[in-house]
């Protein structure tokens, strides 16, 4: 079996989980921590096999919980190792305590998330609530919509998070099953390309007996805010790095992504869907279908939610009359009493001179596919709002209304 340091470019048919594992292999990670929960488990299964085959030289640790998984990752990254971990659903929540300490100590741990609904009711399907509930903990975060993009995002996330101007952990998210378990063609790069793109991990202040440092001492109340401010600034400063890394990625690998937003058939569109992740794939198909029937509908897909591209969201969405936010997450009792994306969109649009109407759709919940007739139904709601000049209500639970 060839190691990642000696492979040639080739195209393979793999799912999102395996694509993430391949990215970790190319990144030559030192420490991997696993704990089983569906659906992300398949990533760790793939990595376990790579280690067993001798394709990847890494410590593979089966942790005793997700809390331990993240703590192990924290300890290993603090020592100077490149780390890979991951989880799904309630597993993401079990580790919650660690998200702030990891970003606060500025350790660029990478975590793969294959979304799963939270309990109840023990549904295996994809909802983004698991990862989104950690969105303000100082982790870089974004969704991929297919296996190739997942592979690419994992590699770019290491490069961005480990940049000395950033030093922040990364959650690289993909929808459970829609991305994690559906295979598609993925181009795996030449090892030389990765070597050129991703330098070895070097933290400026690791736990090294030759240069003793203390990490995370107890501090006085007035010493906290400067550290919080630094973490906030690192998040802001990461925006320029993210753009630069996406450029370099395009130059080396030939695939160019807008780091923040993908627009699909928005030319001449009056109403648009706004969403993250895998439902973009079905949305593109549905929009093509509706366009053929003359409906002026388009798609805006958010690729990175942390840091949140407020100005880009404002600039892009201000071009349209109505924005339909497809949530795929739960924000019980939130601003729209639907999902949490709505408030992120509305806040970005508040300063716009030309605010579109915004409506929130609870669709794709429980890991259900959003089907063609639902896209038509939602488009209909948006067009009615455009005609009326106001929305009927902030949130529609799609499939539960006439």
């Amino acid at each position: 079996m060839p190691t990642a340091t000696e492979v040639k470019k080739r195209t393979v048919r793999i799912n999102g989980c395996v694509a993430a594992a391949q990215a970790a292999k190319y990144a030559d990670v030192d420490v991997i921590t696993a704990y089983p929960i569906r659906p992300y488990t398949a990533t760790m299964m793939a990595l376990a096999q790579m280690v067993a085959n001798g394709e990847l030289d890494a410590e593979y640790i089966v942790a005793d919980s997700e809390h331990s998984q993240l703590s192990i990752a924290h300890g290993a990254a603090s020592s100077g190792a490149r780390v890979f971990t991951g989880s799904s659903g309630v597993g993401v929540q079990f580790a919650y305590e660690l998200y702030s300490p990891i970003s606060g100590s500025r350790m660029p741990v990478q975590m793969m998330i294959a979304d799963r609904t939270l309990d109840p009711p023990g549904d295996f399907g994809s909802e983004h609530t698991d990862a989104l509930s950690t969105r303000d903990m100082g982790w870089l975060m974004g969704w991929s919509c297919d296996a190739q993009e997942a592979f690419d995002n994992h590699l770019m996330a290491y490069r961005i998070g480990e940049d000395p101007r950033v030093l922040l952990p990364q959650m690289v998210c993909q929808d459970g099953f829609f991305v994690s378990h559906i295979t598609s063609d993925v181009e795996l790069p030449d090892s030389g390309q990765v070597k050129e793109f991703l330098p070895p991990y070097k933290h400026p202040y690791p736990l090294d007996p030759r240069h003793p440092v203390s990490h995370g001492p107890q501090i006085m109340p007035e010493q906290g805010p400067p550290l919080q401010l630094e973490r906030a600034r690192a998040m802001e400063d990461s925006m320029a790095v993210i753009e630069q890394v996406h450029d370099e990625f395009a130059n080396i690998f030939g695939r160019r992504y807008d780091p923040w937003i993908e627009e699909f058939m928005t030319d001449g569109a009056e109403v648009v869907f706004f969403l993250q992740g895998a439902h973009a794939v079905t949305a593109r198909f549905a929009i093509q279908h509706m366009r053929d029937k003359g409906l002026k509908v388009g798609l805006v897909r958010l690729r990175t939610i942390r840091p949140y591209p407020t100005d880009r969201v404002k600039e892009v969405l201000s071009k349209f009359k109505v924005v339909g936010v497809v949530e795929t997450n739960m924000g019980l009792g939130s601003v729209s009493s639907g999902g949490v994306l709505y408030s992120e969109v509305c806040a970005a649009l508040y300063e716009s001179q030309q605010r579109p109407l915004v409506v929130s759709f609870m669709a794709g919940m429980g890991g259900e596919a959003i089907v063609m007739k639902e896209f038509y139904w939602m488009t209909q709601k948006m067009m009615e709002a455009q005609k009326q000049g106001k929305i009927e209500k902030r949130t529609h639970w799609v499939g539960f209304e006439e």
């Binding site: 919980s65 331990s68 998984q69 703590s71 924290h74 603090s78 190792a81 007996p209």
Partner: protein, 354 residues
């Protein structure tokens, strides 16, 4: 892939007698990885232990500090007492963070990313972390056999949060979560979790031992044995807390010896090669538990029947170690032969006002 063999440190075992030596010992290293400048209380048992442990370990060492006294009181910002790398971690992450450090060094040395002998990796967890919230994470680290030493500095309570009962708090121990009162005259009603034995029984491939700050050379040798053992090691160390136990500050080391002499803190080693306990450590004297209890305000409320219960507990510990019980200790396990603590009535009154 080139693989570099990981070199391990071997620390010499101190030859001096261990029985409570209080004299200058020329074998002790001069290095002080734990220096003054922290804010622990006068007579703090855990920090005395910290100094002994790090002295035994030396400078090629990395410390992990889950939340607890040795995090809160030791590390004031820009003024930590650690001359070696130290990292705070969450109170429930004792074993897991430590495992991450150990795994990182295994991989980095093997892959040529860090050059040098494998560092001593020591976790200093309080008993709240070690016996309650971080128990699973420590069990995981021991089970997976990472090359590290996990220490439970056992002051028998959550101290930095203001003295609350942990599952290591002894029967009869007064804490703010286990106060005495008319309905519960003995204060804590449960006996402590037998933590170290649990670790030895569940992870028999590990070096596991108990120690006390009353016996410094024994403690330091156990630290070194644990570090020399390739794989995971576990020490549970008695470290009295002046604030929680309520005693005269100069008596920390005395308590460290009395607790052993009274049979309340058995000192032993688990030998992973022989898969057997070594009970050969013997204190100079054997005493009734009342001699230990009477020095501490936390036991001031106990009645004769409670003291008898504790004596019975101590006698069981002696029997477990195969020690023949003198008549006096059997006699002392009968409440009829005991009196209430002098301060019992006053203690109850004070407890009502807390």
């Amino acid at each position: 892939m080139p693989t570099i063999e990981v070199q391990r440190q071997v620390l010499p075992i101190l030859g001096s007698p261990n029985q409570g030596a209080r004299f200058f010992n020329p074998e002790l290293p001069s290095s002080e990885p734990f220096v003054p400048g922290h804010r622990t209380c006068a007579g703090c048992g855990p920090s005395i232990q910290y100094r002994m442990t790090t002295k035994a370990a030396g400078d090629n060492t990395i410390l992990v500090g889950p939340t607890g006294c040795m995090y809160v009181a030791n590390s004031s910002y820009l003024c930590t007492p650690y001359n070696v790398p130290w990292a705070h971690t969450q109170i429930g992450s004792a074993g897991s963070f430590t495992a991450g450090v150990a795994a990182a060094y295994e991989a980095m040395i093997r892959k040529g990313k860090w050059k040098g002998a494998f560092p001593n990796i020591i976790c200093e967890a309080g008993d709240g972390s070690a016996s309650d919230i971080g128990l699973a994470s420590i069990s995981g680290a021991l089970y997976r056999n990472h090359d590290c030493l996990i220490i439970c500095y056992d002051n028998e309570q959550y101290a930095n949060t203001g003295i609350q009962a942990s599952s290591r708090t002894p029967y009869g121990g007064m804490t703010t979560f286990s106060p005495p009162g008319p309905k519960v005259p003995e204060a804590k009603t449960l006996f402590p979790k037998d933590l170290a034995r649990m670790m030895a029984a569940g992870h028999p491939h590990c070096y596991v031992a108990t120690a006390s700050v009353g016996y410094p050379i024994d403690l330091m040798n156990k630290v070194r044995k644990g570090l020399n053992h390739k794989g995971a090691a576990y020490l549970m160390i008695y470290t009295p807390c002046q604030k929680g136990f309520v005693y005269e500050t100069p008596r920390s080391i005395d308590l460290g010896r009395l607790v052993v002499e009274c049979g309340l803190y058995p000192i032993w080693e688990w030998n992973p090669e022989k898969r057997a306990y070594d009970y050969s450590f013997r204190p100079q004297n054997m005493r009734p538990v009342s001699e230990y209890l009477k020095l501490q305000g936390r036991f001031g409320h106990l009645h004769a029947e409670h003291i008898a219960k504790l004596q019975n507990f101590a006698n069981e510990q002696w029997r477990m170690m195969g020690v023949e019980l003198p008549e006096a200790l059997i006699h002392a396990a009968d409440a009829k032969n005991l009196v209430n603590m002098a301060a019992a009535v006053e203690a109850e009154t004070v407890a009502q006002t807390l």
